[in-house]
Structures are given as C-alpha cells and as structure tokens.
Symmetry: C2
Subunit: 402 residues, 2 copies
C-alpha cells in the first residue's frame, strides 16, 4: 500500500477534473441536429401540452353520467349530434343525452367529459347510438395540460438529448435549442517505440493504437477530436507538439510517456508552459496509476498510461463526471468468478457481459495489460471501490459498458 | 384475443424485416471515421501481434532458471550486460548468469525468457544486479503472437466498431476499413391534425413530433435521415410525398395514418406503386398493433403508429434485428411493480431504470399512449413475450435502454 500514499483517490480526481474542465460556448441548434447534444439551459414549457382535451381512442364523446350503469342488456341510448373532424375544433357542444363521433387524437367537444370506445357501442340508426358499457369521467381522454403545464420545467440544463427528449421539444414548438458547443480535443501519442499506423514497424517498434482508441472514445461522447500523431520522447519535439495542440483545442489528451517515478518527460514539458499548474500525478486506481492532469491557462491536459487498454479505461472513468453518457453506458450483471482486489485503491476489471442465458452475466476477461485484443473482447468493466477487497462469484455488479 | 388472429408475431416480423432490408453499398473508411460503422467483411490479422516478445514491466530480462529460489536472504547475482532501448532491437543476447535492463514495452533480448520487476532487484554495482524473487518462464512478457496470430480472424463481418475495435485495427496497420455505407431513410409524418413544428397549432391541431423522434432514433443507429415533413390524409399528396422520399432514399419510415380496420389510406397509397407488395399489416405487440411494412421494388417502407411513444418503441423493436446497437442498449434490472400483460401478444412496457440504490431497479412508467413527456421520463422498456401473462414485482428483467 505504501506506493499509493502520494497518489490521489478517484473521487478526488473526479472533483479536480470537474473543476478544471473547459467551459464550452453555448450555441443554438435545430431539432434535426439536437441528438446527443447537451442542453445549456433548462427547457420550460411555453404552453399547455396538449393545448386541448384529446381522445385517446376512436369512439363517442359523451357525458359519463349519461352512460352510468350501461350494459349489454340495458344499454344507454344517446342521440348522435355530429362528428369531430381531425385537426379542427369540434364546433358542437354535447348536452345530456347526446354524443358525437370522435377519432383518436380528436378534440373533445364542450360538454363531453369522457369517450366510449367504438367497441362498446352500436349504431342503432343514423341518429341513435347504443352504449353497452359505462365510462368514468375523464376516461379515454388526455386533459388539457396533462402532458405538461405552461411554465413547468420539462428538461433540466445539462441533459443530453435523446430521441424522446427531442420529441418533447418538437411538441412544444421549441425549434432553436440552446446547447453546449462540442469541445475540441487534441490527441497525442508519445513514445520512442511508437510509429504511425501506416508504417511497417521495425523490430522493437509498435504502431500507434492509442490515438485512434482515445480519439474514438472522445468522439463517442460528443467531443471533436483532432489527431496530432506520434512524438518521440524528446523535450523540444514534445513541447512543439503540445503547443500546436493547445493552440487549436480546448483540451489535450496524451498517452504514453507518463510514469510515476524516475524522470517524467511529459510532466517536465507540460510544466515548462507559462501558467501551467500540476493538478495531480498518480491515481489510486488499477489500471491507471501513472495518470496526470495539468492545467495550462484555461486549458486542461490529461496524460494517460501507454497501454491502450489502460488508457481507454482511465479516459472513460475520468470523463464520466464531466461527460456522462447516461444509462446507456451502464448495466448490472452477475459476476461469474471471484475477482481479487487490493484494499486502498479503486480497481477496474474488464468483463464481457453475456446475455445468452437470459440473465446478464459479467465474465471477467483476463489478459496482460499490454495485450490489445482483450480490449475488444471485453465490452465493459466493473469498479471495485477502494474499501473492498475483491468481489465474489455470484455477486451482482454494475458494469460500465464501452 | 380474436383481434390478434390476423396479425403477425414479432419474431415473424423480425424475419420479414431482415429479409427485405435494403442492402447497403460497401465503402472504405479510415480509422478516424470508423467509429460506429459496421464491418462489411471479417478482419484477418496480416501479422503476429505483437511481432516480437515484449516486457510488460520495467525491470531486468533474465533466464528464469537463473533466479530460481532467489529471496531477500539469498538473492541471485546476475551480471548486467546491457540496456534495451525502446523502439530498437536489443542488439544483445543473454546467457546464463546475465541480465539486461528492459523498460515496459521493450523487446525481450534473445536468450532471456522472463522479466524481473525492478522492485525485486537491487543494483549492487555498475555490473551486478541482485534479484530477490524468482520468476516463472514467460513471466512479465507478452509472447510473439500472444495478442493474435497471423491469419486469425480478429473481428467478424457485421460487427459495429467501438473504440476498442478501432484500436485492434490500428495495431494491425489496417487503415482502410471495409464498412457498409450508411443507409438513407426518408421520414414522413401523416395526419390532418398535424402541423409543422414552427407553426402555432390551431384548436384541434398538434405539432409534428414523430418526424424528429423517429429521425433521431434512426440517426442514433447510423442511418442518414432526411425529413419530408407533414402530409395530410389525402391520396394524391401522400402519393407524391412517398414518391419523393423513395426517389432519394433506401427506405422510408412514415407514422400516423396506419390503423387496422376501416379504410387505411397509407396502405392504399403504398400499394398503388408499381412492384409494391404488402409484407405485413398489424403486429401482435403492444404498443404497435397498427404497424405495416410494404416492399416497393428493392425499397422498404415502414408504417408506424401515430402516437410518438408507440412509434418510437416499435421502430426500436423493428430495427433491433437489422441494426443492432449491441449491449449499449440493454441492461438488467429488478422490477418494482407487477406488470399485467395479455397472453398471445408481445407487450412492451416503458420503465425508468434507477440505479440510486446501488441495484438497478426498473420502475414502470405509466401514462396514456398519447402523452409525450412520459417518453422522456422513461429511459427504457421491457419486453413481455407472448407466452407470459405479465411479470411480477421483484423479477429480474432485461431492459432495452433508449
């Protein structure tokens, strides 16, 4: 445990990331561009929804008191006084003993307080309808404002818009939606052994995996990603690359190079920038201990581990408080094996969630940290909080899918 | 149950949709555009990964047999013959009694078969290293091809690419990825009572919600969506609108207008096109009974219910077999209430999944089908298969998140 004494807990890191996260600008987008965008302000209903009482079925608008006690043997007789046309005000009023034909979605005529489904009626002649079942007041009707009331908050600020939310905005006629601009993030891979993906690696070299993994993970959370390629562990070249990325983005994510202990080139270079401040260096999580965060002016730079699997998991964990994906990224499952963990640090264990048995099972995916394909075999990971010494087979766990 | 005799079961509908789904073209995209795209062909590793044995830790490359039985009290003494530089072949060979410094990710020198972590060593002088723990053969080493072997399938055709998959492609140097082109879908709302979102509805009218809900749901599954607006229940106008949408898209999704029984204008119009064929009209699901599918030439038209909530859920269910979102869209949760259902049909019940207690709970969201905001309150729905008569409080259910 001694090695974790000078490193930060995950909740503390989350708080620091949140405090230092770049503030995106606010812009307006139309309904067609709103998917996945984050609301920059709460949405208040400017009107009642629906603005008039609507039928939810095809049938007859009636006064409930007129059909009280109606049955197959003793039906209620009502005189048909008209037909409600879709999209128009009724133009008629119902009084006791009367009814009007109304289609699903049609506007309830004045005087009526319920709708009888057509299945429970019979047309006796052109002017008379038999009703064979009673209805309660308000039955088969959506009242004015039942969906939402004018002045009510319908969506809070900070909410990420899903199709169903966009439907609410459309219903209220809100066609200019205040959302946060997408953040721009520069992605840099470092390491003397890393070559670009189009190169043929010589012995001892590997291709740049992290740029694309981290870039896609950022993109999936709505961040615009720019790729700055690979840079060797060289002070001047690294400084130039970071300066270029800072000039064009709100934040920068780098991977490799960062390690606790010995000389840390990334950190030295980052702290050489004016107005730079170390936020943290080292986290009590596994994987991800050698993670760093530096603030440079109003911008944020994250330094992630070099192993792609570790880099991706740490990025997902760090982004969670600032760019939540909502429940899409989470499920619960039954653990299929014991998983050991060390008290005093937050462990993250890759799992494959399998639904084939009908019950979600989380199967721990083993494999060394440097392997790449295990990333793809896993579809999520579980979090063992620092207070716990592992999880037991059969336990229900919350899985973050990725 | 009689009303469901002439309608189709969900699995049958899924089979029909799958058979008649438009075939997208195949194109190549780069790693930076690959997120969320579907592989049009399997991916085979063109080389071993890693192409050489790599250390997973900072330490010393050794022969395991040399440090057998080493301990704090009786350490093994090894002569240091060199240092492995990142990104270069070792240039040295280890024989018995020798070791070489190796960084994480460095290439294992010939002769060595394991790496001792630096934590379990001590430099006695410039030429001698003490090792205080034994290692097994292969310990702290990723073998050549351990990640994947040349010729092995690493990703199957039809797989939707996540960040971690893109990492695998990058590692293998696969920079031109064969994926399916995005399908283009035209979206049409029908109904005499429906006005465009920028209009102020008169009494009896409502704004077009479905275009935006369905458009966003399609977009979220990677379909390019074009909006064709609102069309009244008029044969000629509807025919013109559908013809325009068919001319520019691979498929068309319309909502409203479709209802089982009486005259069905949408169906009449669709069957007026040359080479049109009714695939189904009416499904044994709730909501969603009045759903239809028509094939026109090589194109597909889906007719969904008019209620936005129903239209969205039916679309999600119908797209599942052809455009699966994978596990991102699914979780398990404990049902908080009994939910009734009728045998003989597939029921879908909206739920709100709540994680606040630490255990995922699925809280049924009640509300009439015509309400719009309940769509937004729910974040998923559960499926009650046709064989079941409801679900009980406390049961674990699979939730499709949306």
């Amino acid at each position: 445990m001694a090695e974790f004494f000078d490193v930060l807990s995950l909740p503390e890191a989350g708080r620091i990331i949140t405090e230092n996260w770049p503030r995106p600008a606010v812009k307006k987008v139309g309904l067609e561009e709103a998917l996945g965008r984050t609301l920059a302000a709460e949405v208040i209903a400017g009107e009642d929804l629906p603005p008039f009482p609507r039928s939810t079925v095809d049938g007859y608008a009636v006064l409930a008191s007129d059909v009280h006690g109606a049955s197959e043997t003793i039906p209620a007789f009502l005189s048909l006084v008209g037909e409600i046309a879709m999209g128009f005000p009724p133009g008629i009023e119902i009084t006791s003993g009367q009814c009007a034909w109304i289609p699903t979605g049609g506007m309830l005529p004045a005087g009526a307080d319920a709708v009888v489904m057509v299945e429970y009626t019979e047309g006796l002649d052109q002017e008379t309808v038999l009703v064979t079942r009673p209805v309660a007041v308000g039955e088969n009707v959506i009242r004015t404002g039942e969906d939402c009331r004018m002045g009510e908050q319908v969506l809070p600020a900070g909410h990420a818009l899903r199709p169903q939310d966009i439907g609410v905005l459309a219903a209220l006629g809100i066609t200019e939606i205040p959302v946060f601009s997408r953040l721009r993030c520069g992605v840099i891979s470092t390491g003397d052994e890393v070559v670009t993906v189009d190169a043929t690696p010589a012995m001892g070299q590997v291709r740049d995996v992290n740029s694309y993994v981290l870039g896609a993970a950022l993109k999936r959370r709505g961040v615009d990603t720019r790729y700055y390629g690979v840079v060797a562990d060289d002070f001047i070249r690294l400084q130039e690359k970071i300066a270029a990325a800072l000039a064009e983005n709100d934040l920068v994510v780098m991977s490799g190079g960062s390690s606790v202990g010995d000389r840390d080139l990334s950190l030295e270079v980052l702290l050489s920038f004016p107005e730079s401040r170390l936020l943290f260096h080292g986290l009590s999580i596994k994987p991800g201990k050698p993670t760093l965060a530096v603030r440079i002016g109003s911008q944020l730079v994250l330094g992630l581990p070099g192993h792609p699997v570790s880099a991706l998991m740490v990025l997902e964990v760090l982004l969670e408080p600032v760019l939540p994906e909502g429940l899409r990224g989470t499920c619960t499952a039954v653990l299929t094996d014991n998983v050991a963990s060390q008290a005093g640090r937050d462990d993250f264990v890759r799992v494959k969630v399998d639904y084939s048995s009908g019950v979600a099972k989380a199967i721990p995916v083993h494999g060394k940290a440097g392997l790449i394909r295990v990333m793809s075999e896993a579809n999520g990971f579980i979090h063992i909080p620092h207070q716990k010494q592992g999880l037991s087979k059969g336990e229900t766990v919350i899985v973050r899918l990725f």
